[in-house]
């Protein structure tokens, strides 16, 4: 019987854990909103619409010293290597899940893949990802410790990047995600924390967040940043 998406995700995480790689990874993207359930317990939080893409951020690739062939590691559950974009970013594909690796972009912007020879793959370098790994939380799922960006960082990051998206649908999805996470943070009583994170951001990023907040036209969210 075909594995369902959640079981397959757990299987992938377990394989990364047993290979000693999970500790270097921050789970980002729409899938981490599923695991925020534990953090937002009691607030009426419901996970967001997620795609099959599961994004793994490696904040400090040079820290990984173990040699692991990721493609071989995920071959048994049926993942195949796929290439995306004109530059050939590697991702591991399965009808239920698509695994992608990301690294924070440092220095001059480039669309060349970032090589991860110790893992036998490459990763996509993206701007502002270091903001996601600045403050993380750990959730415990099926006996594994999974690192996620703090929801405040997740929401503010979405507000920054939605303005850089060429795709309107993706931008609307980011907007929706940020708004719902911010509401959950307000219900959890973390308004001050969100404001502190915002105040610690560089002025240029604050400007981007403010612009996105104005567009949301949501007084409850706007009040956090007043």
């Amino acid at each position: 019987m075909a594995k369902n998406q959640y079981d397959l995700c757990i299987d992938v995480l377990r394989r990364l854990e047993s290979a000693g790689i999970l500790q270097y990874i921050v789970l980002v993207g729409s899938w981490c909103t599923l695991f925020y359930k534990e953090y937002f317990e009691g607030t009426g939080y419901t996970p967001l619409l997620k795609t099959r893409d599961i994004d793994f951020l490696i904040p400090e690739p040079s820290r990984i010293k173990t040699k692991v062939d990721i493609a071989e590691l995920l071959k048994e559950p049926g993942f195949v290597v796929g290439f995306t974009g004109s530059q050939g970013y590697i991702r591991l594909e399965h009808p239920e899940l698509i695994v992608e690796f990301l690294v924070p972009e440092k220095g001059r912007s480039t669309d060349k893949p970032y090589p991860l020879p110790q893992l036998g793959i490459n990763a996509q370098a993206l701007r502002f990802l270091d903001f996601l790994s600045k403050h993380t939380i750990t959730v415990h799922i099926k006996g594994m410790s999974i690192t996620l960006p703090h929801p405040a960082h997740f929401a503010l990051h979405k507000l920054i990047i939605l303005q850089r998206r060429p795709d309107q649908a993706k931008s609307s999805k980011d907007e929706d995600a940020a708004q719902r996470i911010l509401h959950s943070l307000i219900r959890k009583g973390e308004k001050k924390f969100v404001r502190d994170v915002f105040n610690a951001m560089p002025p240029r990023q604050q400007k981007l967040v403010r612009k996105a907040i104005d567009k949301l036209n949501d007084p409850e969210v706007a009040d956090v940043f007043a």
Binding site: T51, G78, V80, P95, K170, K173, D176
Partner: protein, 105 residues
């Protein structure tokens, strides 16, 4: 609605790429299946495959344990990839019909 349609379009593009990748991996696997025949107490290996609708047994002679394992693994992966390819094709069909609605995709 715009968000949902965008997600479905992205998933369709993903599935189309995935279909090609499963077909590529299937093509890479060695053709046929290794079968063992015991004749007068001795083991002989044949490679069974279908060529032009006919089942063909090709004598392989002595085969190392490693080669036997490789064929066994290839057989397992072939079955797995075929199943996943079929799932991918079903997804493509579903996504196309969902996206189409009354508009051209």
């Amino acid at each position: 609605m715009k968000v949902l349609k965008g997600v479905l379009k992205e998933e369709l593009a993903n599935s189309l790429g995935m279909q090609k990748n499963y077909e590529r991996e299937l093509a890479k696997l060695p053709q046929g299946s290794l079968v063992k025949k015991t004749i007068k107490g001795r083991n002989y290996y044949y490679l069974v495959s279908r060529i032009g609708g006919k089942v063909v047994f090709a004598y392989k002679g002595k085969v190392s344990d490693e080669e036997v394992r490789e064929y066994k693994k290839a057989k397992e992966y072939r079955a797995k990839y075929r199943k996943l390819l079929s799932e991918t094709k079903k997804q493509i069909k579903f996504l196309r019909s969902t996206l189409r609605g009354k508009e051209p995709v």
